[in-house]
């Protein structure tokens, strides 16, 4: 593994190695001294072309706990017309001695361009690109599912587990990454969304698609229900008018108290954050004991530590935690 660009690039063995490494990392985080020396002297650049405080501080925490130096580069507005090009930014970072670049970009494929255009040599980690991929989110979600629903975890996948991913699939890199990774790990994924928020061309994805949340909950009986953030501007005509109103969306696709009560006892409720309480998820669901929303944040740090460690520590004499 040279870069982490897409969850679809991960083999089952690679994905499980990351999850197992993340478990090792997580175990160190209950120690009084959380910092590991593994990446001492290495520079990790967080190159964020899109605002995302959560993801940035998660990567920052992960890198710092591995003793790497972290440089945060916030560069909104990337296109040639708006100012400095991605190429020039990348080459600037290269010249400053970046050992890894964590990139968040509003253009799908920007991390792949960075990794494959010969602009830089450093490993590239995709921290979310447009509507394409967010592989560390999928990894932390898989990690969370495995922790809750798989008994003998080390070395295990998610075989036979049923996961419903509910919401704005069309615009979601989280959905795409999860479909790829959860399928690789053996889970059965059902996407649930209004037809306007399912992409044309979804038929080749390794998952089921259903337009009816209630039918999915009753017939598919998911082990995990992952709610996706729905942006309010999607309902306006300017945004495309994907659904008529927030209230209608919430009635048909929101995880309200009634739906929450119908879930199997072991079923977990997930959300990548930030949540729109009262729109895609009710307060009851968000705050219920089934909710893994806060835990997902903690797991995100462990998974990102694992990814940074596996990409960087292998490249010279890194120390095993």
């Amino acid at each position: 593994m040279r870069h982490l660009l897409s969850a679809a690039d991960l083999s089952r063995a690679e994905a499980i190695e990351i999850l197992d490494t993340a478990a090792t990392m997580a175990a160190t985080q209950s120690r009084e001294i959380k910092k590991l020396p593994a990446l001492r002297g290495r520079a990790v650049v967080n190159l964020f072309f899109e605002d995302s405080t959560r993801t940035r501080i998660s990567f920052e925490a992960a890198a710092k706990r591995l003793s790497a130096d972290v440089i945060n580069f916030s560069a909104k507005g990337s296109s040639v017309s708006k100012g400095e090009s991605l190429k020039d930014t990348a080459q600037t970072l290269q010249a400053m001695g970046a050992d890894a670049v964590v990139i968040r970009h509003d253009a799908s494929g920007a991390p792949q361009r960075l990794a494959t255009s010969g602009w830089i040599d450093a490993p590239v980690i995709n921290a979310g690109d447009g509507k394409h991929q967010h592989p560390t989110q999928a990894l932390l979600d898989a990690y969370t599912i495995r922790r809750h629903l798989v008994a003998d975890r080390t070395g295990a996948g998610l075989d036979g587990l049923r996961v419903a991913v509910v919401g704005d699939v069309l615009h979601s890199r989280v959905a795409r990454s999860n479909v790829d990774l959860l399928h690789t790990l053996g889970a059965e994924v059902t996407l649930v969304a209004p037809p306007t928020l399912v992409p044309v061309g979804v038929e080749t994805w390794p998952c089921q698609v259903c337009y009816d949340l209630d039918a999915t909950l009753d017939e598919h009986t998911p082990d995990a229900v992952m709610m996706l953030r729905v942006q309010r501007e999607r309902m306006s005509a300017a945004g495309g008018g994907f659904f008529p109103s927030a209230a209608e969306y919430s009635r048909r696709y929101g995880l309200d108290a009634a739906r929450l009560s119908r879930l199997a006892e072991h079923t977990i409720v997930m959300h990548p954050g930030p949540m729109n309480r009262g729109l895609e998820i009710s307060a009851q669901a968000a705050d219920s004991p089934r909710s893994t929303v806060v835990e997902q944040v903690a797991n995100g740090v462990a998974v990102r530590m694992a990814v940074l460690y596996l990409l960087l520590a292998g490249t010279d004499e890194g120390t095993h935690p």
């Binding site: 679809a8 990337s78 296109s79 040639v80 017309s81 090009s85 991605l86 190429k87 970009h105 509003d106 253009a107 799908s108 494929g109 920007a110 792949q112 361009r113 494959t116 255009s117 690109d129 447009g130 509507k131 394409h132 991929q133 890199r173 795409r176 992409p199 044309v200 061309g201 979804v202 038929e203 080749t204 994805w205």
Partner: protein, 441 residues
């Protein structure tokens, strides 16, 4: 001026014959040609070469005035000559827009001065290509540039009333509206063909229906007002069906396909390489097959390059930020041979290349002295092609001022060897001739 005796070329890829070019005309053909050759005639051994009437492109972006960093009339027509063309139609989306007699005459004169090929400016349909008010189409038609093709290419004439008026108005001077068929609302932010690949890549889709809906509307409008309409760069199987239906109905519709839409598909976009970003976008393998069949059976009348040069920085960036378009003048013959002749799927011959890249585009553009038969007395616009000489595309070897070809490192099965424009060799032995007769100092 120098006379040329082209010996033993296969005319239209068929019978071997000699061609004598003197004083800008084809003076003689066949067995009489050698006898008629004056003293000092340059003899060209064309054994094994195919002779076609000089190629005519109905859709070329020469970028001048305004974007001389991407291409100029001189560099673009030089590339055209290298590709076997003796006439190009210069698209109107320049800066300023070619929407007045002044601008089209400027472009026409730049073409005259450069002397590589005949430049026929296309006039914008609407002022500034803004889609709200008709440009002075009559003034452009009456100008020295004698514009007959009008297009807002790059943007669709989407207002149905305006499109109707344009179709009607140009009848007064036998003009034609060349429509860039793209329903704007259905393609807001669109980056690539909407389908399986766009779903996976997370790039906003450009649905086939956005092209097909406009074509359906416009053929019906053309029927209603009794005008002819030309459809630019047809890219979908559904568009082909609509055009086939319209032609069966007797509607005066003509259509073009680009070389790149005959060979490339949306699968090429998987690497997010902006060299494959083009408008209309690369479609699916099924669309490619339908376009090839339609070109072979005449539903699509012509091949037009949509040569769209861009400076390097416009492609050396993220896919979303990149400009749309690819160069095409110098690869057109090779790509058409690769798509239409080499596979042998369709009975497509070099005579069909002459029809679709010379005779019919000249007729659609109402260019009087181009696309003429290889016969005595006709203008000496001749292209010689080696149908067996394969070559590998290297952007640095091309003559266009830009590098944005999608065919880098691709092997093409046929190559232009010589181009004669008004009897002057603009290309000879595969070399473009900067020192040709009548070249500007």
């Amino acid at each position: 001026m120098t006379a040329y005796l082209i010996q033993g070329a296969r005319l239209y890829g068929e019978e071997r014959a000699d061609l004598l070019l003197t004083d800008g005309r084809i003076a003689a053909t066949g067995s009489e040609a050698a006898d008629a050759a004056p003293v000092g005639t340059v003899r060209i051994d064309a054994d094994g070469l195919v002779a076609l009437p000089g190629l005519v492109d109905l859709h070329t972006h020469l970028r001048e005035p305004g974007r001389e960093d991407a291409e100029t009339v001189a560099s673009g027509t030089r590339a055209a000559a290298a590709g076997g063309f003796t006439c190009v139609h210069a698209m109107a989306n320049t800066t300023p827009t070619a929407d007045t007699a002044g601008v089209v005459e400027q472009v026409w004169r730049l073409g005259q001065d450069a002397g590589w090929a005949e430049v026929r400016p296309i006039g914008a349909v609407t002022v500034g290509r803004a889609g709200t008010q008709l440009a002075e189409l009559g003034a452009m038609a009456d100008s020295a540039a004698a514009v007959r093709v009008f297009s807002d290419d790059g943007d669709c004439v989407h207002d149905p009333v305006l499109m109707r008026r344009a179709l009607e108005y140009v009848k007064a001077f036998d003009g034609v509206v060349a429509q860039h068929a793209q329903e704007p609302r259905l393609t807001e932010g669109a980056l690539m063909h909407e389908g399986v690949v766009s779903a996976e890549l997370g790039l906003t889709g450009w649905p086939a229906v956005a092209e097909e809906a406009i074509i359906a509307r416009d053929v019906l409008l053309a029927e209603h007002v009794g005008s002819r309409v030309h459809i630019c760069h047809v890219s979908t199987a559904g568009s082909v069906e609509i055009i086939r239906w319209a032609k069966q109905r007797g509607i005066q519709v003509t259509a073009e396909v680009t070389p790149h839409h005959l060979v490339l598909t949306d699968e090429q976009v998987r690497g997010y390489d902006p060299q494959f970003k083009v408008n209309p976008p690369l479609r699916t393998a099924e669309d490619v097959a339908a376009l090839r069949a339609a070109l072979a059976d005449g539903t699509i009348d012509i091949v037009a390059t949509d040569h769209a040069p861009h400076p390097r920085e416009a492609k050396d960036c993220e896919f979303a930020a990149a400009a749309m378009g690819m160069t095409g003048l110098e690869t057109a013959v090779g790509v058409v041979a690769a798509a239409m002749i080499a596979p042998g799927e369709h009975a497509f011959t070099w005579a069909d290349v002459a029809r679709t890249l010379s005779t019919v585009p000249a007729r659609i553009g109402r260019v009087p002295h181009q696309g003429r038969p290889l016969a005595p007395g006709e203008p000496a616009h001749v292209t010689l092609i080696d149908p067996e000489r394969s070559w590998r595309v290297h952007p640095e070897d091309l003559h266009t001022a830009s590098e944005n070809t999608p065919f880098t490192d691709r092997e093409l099965p046929a190559q232009v060897v010589a181009t004669f424009f008004r009897g002057v060799a603009t290309v000879l032995d595969g070399d473009v001739r900067n020192d040709r007769e009548g070249a500007p100092a």
